[in-house]
Amino acid sequence: MAQIPNLDNSPLNLTALREQSQKDLLNIVKSIRGKKCLVIDPKLAGTLSLILQTSVLKEYGAELRILSADLLQTECPKVVYLVRSQPNYMKFVANQIKSDEPKGLQREYFLYFVPRRIVACEKILEEEKVHQKLTIGEYPLYLVPLDEDVLSFELDYSLQECLIEGDTSSVWHVAKAIHKLEFAFGVIPNIRAKGVASSKAAELLNNMQLEDPVNMDNMGMPEIDTLILLDREVDMVTPMCSQLTYEGLLDEMLEIHNGTVEVDSSIMGGQQDGKKVKVPLNSSDKLYKEIRDLNLHVVVQVVRQKATSIQQDYAEVKSTNTQSVSELKDFVKRLHSLPEIARHVNLAQHLQSFAAKPSFHARVEIEQIILEVENYETCFEYIEDIIQKQEPIETVLRLLVLFSLTNAGLPKKNFDYLRREILHSYGFEHMSLLYNLEKAGLVKKQESRSNWVGISRALQLIVDLKDPEKPDDISYIFSGYAPLSIRLVQHAVRSGWRSTEELLKLLPGPHLDLKRGVSSISFSSELLTGSVGQQSTDRVGHRSLVLVVFIGGVTSAEIAALRFLSAQEGMGYDFLVATTKVITGNTLLRSIIASSKEGMI
């Protein structure tokens, strides 16, 4: 199975989108004749593996290298840098170029910015005095399909940039990427946004349409009916909860990178030689598509059923000689699914080794107590304990953030106490981390009463599970907690923001309801009357497409919830998710921790 997902079943023609990205890249490589060394930044190299087989690049005479602080070792007379527009990479590039000079190497240098050239980066190249030596271009990769229903803007730091640094570059990027989508699929008529960044992105999108209009004359109906933009800031609670779906757990425990997990080959049934294998995870794998969004224990049952039925077939084949050829054929066909079953048996087993631990149970339990805002003391002591026994700092912070969010902060005494315990346990270098978390409102002093209980009731976030095998609500995702973000999407899709106005005011950031006409764009939040539900019935048999954009990241569990929603009977729409990044609570916090420690935020 390939790492590059099959996109044929996508509700939008994402294949064309990906092919364009392939073509753009190949054109760059082709335009530089002869042998060349293609130096790609490490993050981008991973992203590109979702777009094309890197071996294709080699066919055009490109030698591949990963950009790092080390000097470049190559014989090629031409060096092509393909890097995202980040200042730290510019220093690497400059150093590599400058090191060639004393060696008397005469090379041609090209630098392609992804997705576009940035003054701040070029400034560094100028200061390093290498700008003159470079031929500069752009590779406009704004969006990558991760799967048939998930797009990523590949902006790892969007949340901390928006929330802590005040750098809204990612908001512009998101708007630009959506505008580019509109050129291919038509102007999206309905926009609903919640949060500072999302509202800004909606506004930018409108400006872009004014400055550089999508010509709607020679396009049919817009393919995307509604755009819902949500800031991660609006719901920081959900990513702090432990994910319990198969895919969510894979991401939490093993970390999914560019649609693959890397595990010891022994886990996948291979030799115990310490080698790692990459396992691709996307919906091209039929079984994975079926089980990715299920609770882990249901996954185990499904996999078991499949295995047993094959086993029974096998027994039949062995015991009787009466099968017809076509029956045998059927059996052999089913045998082909064996590697898939085996793969997921192995992975699920590996996950169980984490998830079955009592400490994991305890953890999920305490999360539930925090979500229900019960028993403050128990929660406080639990957090105190894990700090004092020096559990990984992101584990601690995840719970602390959750605790602070649901309680609208901690009483000053507790706040200062826990902060001091953290600094004593993990080192004083985390002072700026605590300061940043406070600035972002993630861990703070209590100043007002918490409205979490109100929000939670109004949106029915805490739901008692009836039958976990046949869930009827998205709350199955977190075993009784329905993710706030997805509840908002449910409301936005059903009736727009209007019905939830009062509630939305309790959550951070402004909200926005836009209706964009076919010929002229009217900017009014009052115009919206019809709901998506009604529109979808206008066209018989047509399912409307809703693009849900998360600025600041989304978890696999939330994507699972959206998939669950669109699969419900009577639902007239499909969801396409676009996110700055697929995150887990850990990856999200880890980057804040690292940047704070380095003093970069």
Partner: protein, 871 residues
């Protein structure tokens, strides 16, 4: 057929083909009505309206382009009423003056004039330097000082041949220098291989095969030296046509397709040879052995030779045609003929196209001729019209086609009408004929007639027009300041009018120095509105370059694309507005662009960083972006910013960052890095302490500094460099693990470590080093403040089952007990404990049970598959 006869009577037969000479413009005014009266202004070529080709150096651009002239000061001239100072004159092909400017005195002698393909006027001076002038105002570009094309000490220009994109120069010392990029600001002349001209030899004439006709893509220069011809290029010299024994060549011309050469030999023969000199295609013996003044190709079929008063047209067969002129003329080769400029007229000599001979040829009975005749009869209401129609009914389409084509070749509007009328007469009888053809022709003719008007003076033929393309024609009209016509043509042909309006606006600004900004703005906006998506920023940039900054500021306000607007706002010093707009645009890259600009202008050039801080501090996005950038590379500036804007805590954090960086790059000062580090932390502490909101941070910084000192002392006393940089907890653990209880206790009390944490740390440290006795003793010191959990976990983590059980028994919480047993794999005990817990009604716990678990189940599954290749 009377009309047809009169048409054909003007034709001349050369072998089996007809040629005709059309007078396009006559007489040529050479002056505009306005300037004739005020000759003192010197606008015209001498108020009398006269231009004598024989006393001027003249150049004319192909494709009906303009004519440039400068009086030739190497000739003795009688000045009539002209001013004595020489002027550079520019006329349209119809002799209307377009511009003139004084010829800079004291320049080296002018060798020749020529037009480049993008219609810049080139003037080659005898020392080999080049002047270039822009049309239509003859402004020198890029500057009024000539660009040298020849290497020094080459002796100046002996001969030169221009083509559209360049010039080949033969120097006085017989070297060849070619400049193929004559349009760029600093052209790159290249010297070709040495042609090897002997001491006593002379170069008789030269010609150039243009680069587009040469395989190598660089021009080839043909030189007639003595009695041989050589081809010179960059790589070498090739002797041509020895076998042909042509003898000394006096004059040469390369055909329009670059394949043939017309050469006039010393014995009066005109030879036509392929440029590779493989054979003689034909030769003609002239009456005179005197070389002609001019030689030119007329199309690909005939060669024109001009001696004063005689113009001879020689074709491959038959007698040549002779024309007589009593005044000097100039041959201007075109792709489909030759224009003949004289003092009084502009003519066009070309081969009569086949469609026209078929209609107007004497005695022609072609279908087209009959159709034309039928129309004539029809107009006269004669029944013969129908007879004609019957004769040609089967070949009607060709007849219509020919009439339409013929109309295209005519300059005479009434004849165009007659021919098109003939075509439309046939049309109703011929339903299959493509309807668009005639409209297309009408469209083209309307454009052609419009530009041929003497006021415009661009005598384009239809073939030239097709070759030139409508877009280039519009460009030429704009450059001749014929904006209205250019706009009309653009609209008529559905071309984007942006380029016309843009140029108009720029010219308007340049020409309106006296008009106040606000009035001019209205005038400009009126026209700019005509074109959607036009770049106001580009017009504004031009206004700024023309010294009208205020106008530029007003114009740029109308630009809708921020990426164009903002750079311009910066260039006209509207920094505040630029910053404002960039923030509104939401494009952080534009904000950075403005920030760097203002930083350079204010903080660097004016040396006023505080002003810069003031500007950005009022705008959150600008401020935050500056901070983000400065964290990477402008630390000091960032610190200044924080301090000057009262963000003391941020400055303090920056100091802490610096202290950590010291840790990363230990300076060679042995073991005492903590001293500068502590100093920085102390500074940070003081900054935090300035505001009461940061009490926690100030205390922490204080503690941090203290910790570093304590750790330093520990390292000194233990002689182990393992403490610096670790946390308080880790320091305690390390001490205990090293068996140094006293030091640990001291740290505990100095940092007021709570008992609960102390138990976790000590239990963990003792278990890590396997000191179980000490652990047990510790557990018995007193009742642990947080229970026995730390002991249980320390033992389990260390894998000590028996030790762990000791402490599990002391646990009070049943759920915790169960969990601990489970971790040790003691399922029975775990179950028993869990039952107890369940009795306590722990509802959550049971809820989670079905979520997770099922460990055993999947194990069995795994076993089943373990034998197969799984991945």
């Amino acid at each position: 057929m009377s009309s047809s006869v009169s048409v054909a009577a003007e034709w001349d037969l050369l072998s089996d083909r007809f040629y005709r000479r059309i007078t396009i413009y006559s007489p040529l005014p050479w002056s505009s009505p306005a300037t004739t009266t005020t000759s003192s202004s010197g606008g015209g070529s001498g108020g009398a309206g006269r231009l004598d080709l024989s006393t001027h150096i003249v150049a004319a651009a192909p494709f009906g382009g303009p004519i440039a002239a400068v009086r030739d000061d190497s000739k003795i001239v009688q000045l009539h009423s002209e001013p004595s100072r020489r002027r550079l004159l520019l006329f349209s092909s119809s002799g209307h003056p377009l511009a003139s400017s004084p010829w800079t005195p004291h320049l080296p002698r002018l060798h020749s004039l020529a037009f480049s393909s993008s219609l810049n006027l080139l003037a080659l001076l005898s020392d080999g330097s080049l002047l270039r002038f822009r049309l239509p105002d003859l402004k020198p570009i890029p500057s009024s000082s000539p660009v040298p094309l020849l290497p020094p000490a080459s002796g100046g220009v002996a001969d030169a041949v221009f083509w559209g994109g360049g010039v080949a120069i033969l120097t006085e010392d017989n070297r060849v220098v070619v400049t193929a990029d004559i349009e760029v600001d600093d052209p790159h002349p290249r010297e070709l291989a040495d042609p090897g001209v002997g001491e006593d030899e002379q170069v008789l004439c030269m010609a150039v095969v243009e680069p587009q006709f040469v395989m190598s893509g660089s021009p080839e220069v043909l030189l007639a030296v003595g009695d041989r011809v050589v081809a010179v290029d960059e790589d070498g010299v090739q002797l041509l046509g020895e076998a042909l024994e042509i003898g000394p060549v006096q004059k040469m011309a390369v055909s329009p397709n670059g394949k043939l050469l017309a050469a006039f030999a010393h014995d009066g023969r005109l030879l036509v040879i392929p440029t590779d000199f493989s054979r003689i295609i034909f030769e003609y013996e002239c009456d005179s052995a005197l070389p002609p003044d001019q030689i030119a190709w007329c199309g690909l079929d005939s060669v024109l030779l001009y001696w004063p008063e005689v113009l001879l047209m020689v074709g491959p067969n038959g007698d040549p045609v002779q024309y007589n002129y009593d005044e000097p003329i100039m041959l201007i080769p075109e792709c489909d003929g030759v224009r003949i400029l004289s003092n009084s007229s502009m003519e066009f000599l070309h081969r009569v196209p086949d469609c026209i001979t078929s209609i107007f040829g004497i005695g022609s009975m072609s279908p087209a001729a009959l159709l034309y005749d039928a129309r004539d009869h029809y107009d006269k209401q004669s029944a013969k019209a129908y007879d004609n129609y019957q004769l040609i009914s089967s070949s009607l389409p060709e007849a219509i086609e020919a009439c339409i084509d013929a109309a295209g070749y005519e300059f005479d509007v009434s004849r165009q009408h007659a021919l098109l009328n003939a075509a439309t007469y046939g049309l109703p009888f011929c339903s299959q004929f493509p309807q668009g053809r005639i409209q297309e022709m009408c469209k083209m003719l309307r454009v052609l007639n419009a530009v041929r008007d003497p006021e415009i003076g661009m005598p384009l033929t239809i073939q030239q027009y097709k070759l030139l393309t409508a877009t280039v024609l519009v460009g030429r009209l704009i450059n001749a300041n014929q904006h209205l016509l250019a706009l009309r043509i653009s609209e008529y042909l559905n071309l984007n009018p942006e380029v016309v309006i843009m140029h108009w606006a720029c010219e308007k600004i340049a020409a309106s120095t006296a008009i106040p900004d606000i009035v001019l703005l209205e005038g400009l906006l009126d026209k700019l509105r005509l074109c959607k998506g036009i770049s106001y920023a580009a017009v504004a940039a031009h206004a700024d370059n023309s010294g009208r900054r205020k106008l530029a500021a007003m114009l740029v306000d109308h630009e809708s694309q921020s990426s164009k607007q903002i750079p311009l706002l910066l260039s006209i010093d509207e920094q505040d507005k630029a910053l404002q707009k960039s923030i509104e645009s939401g494009d952080t890259d534009l904000v950075y662009l403005v920030l760097f600009h203002i930083w350079q202008k204010v903080a660097v050039e004016k040396n006023a960083p505080l002003d810069f801080f003031g500007i950005i501090n009022a705008r959150p996005l600008a401020r935050d972006l500056f901070m983000t950038y400065a964290r990477h590379s402008k630390h000091e500036a960032l610190k200044d910013f924080f301090l000057s804007t009262g963000r003391l805590q941020d400055a303090a954090f920056l100091l802490l960052k610096e202290s950590r960086e010291l840790e990363k790059n230990p300076v060679a000062s042995k073991g005492s890095i903590h001293v500068p580090q502590v100093r920085l932390i102390d500074q940070a502490y003081r900054l935090f302490a300035e505001t009461k909101e940061h009490l926690f941070e100030s205390k922490s910084a204080e503690e941090h500094a203290k910790l570093l000192r304590v750790q330093h002392n520990l390292e000194v006393s233990t002689k182990q460099a393992i403490f610096l940089g670790s946390s308080v907890s880790d320091t305690i653990k390390t001490c205990i693990a090293m068996g140094n209880e006293r030091a640990a206790a001291k740290v505990k009390s100095e940092f007021k470590v709570p008992d609960k944490r102390w138990y976790w740390l000590k239990a963990c440290a003792l278990a890590t080093v396997g000191n179980w006795d000490a652990l047990e003793a510790f557990s018995k010191e007193k009742r642990p403040p947080g229970g026995y959990k730390p002991f249980v976990e320390a033992c389990i983590d260390a894998g000590q089952k028996t030790e762990a059980v000791k402490y599990i028994l002391k646990l009070t919480n049943s759920a915790e007990k169960s969990e601990a047993y489970e971790r040790l794999g003691m399922h029975e005990e775990a179950k028993a404990a869990a039952l107890q817990a369940d009795n306590n009604g722990d509802e959550l716990f049971s809820r989670l049970k079905f979520t997770l678990g099922q460990n055993a189940l999947i194990d069995t599954l795994r076993d089943r598959f373990s034998s197969q290749g799984t991945y």
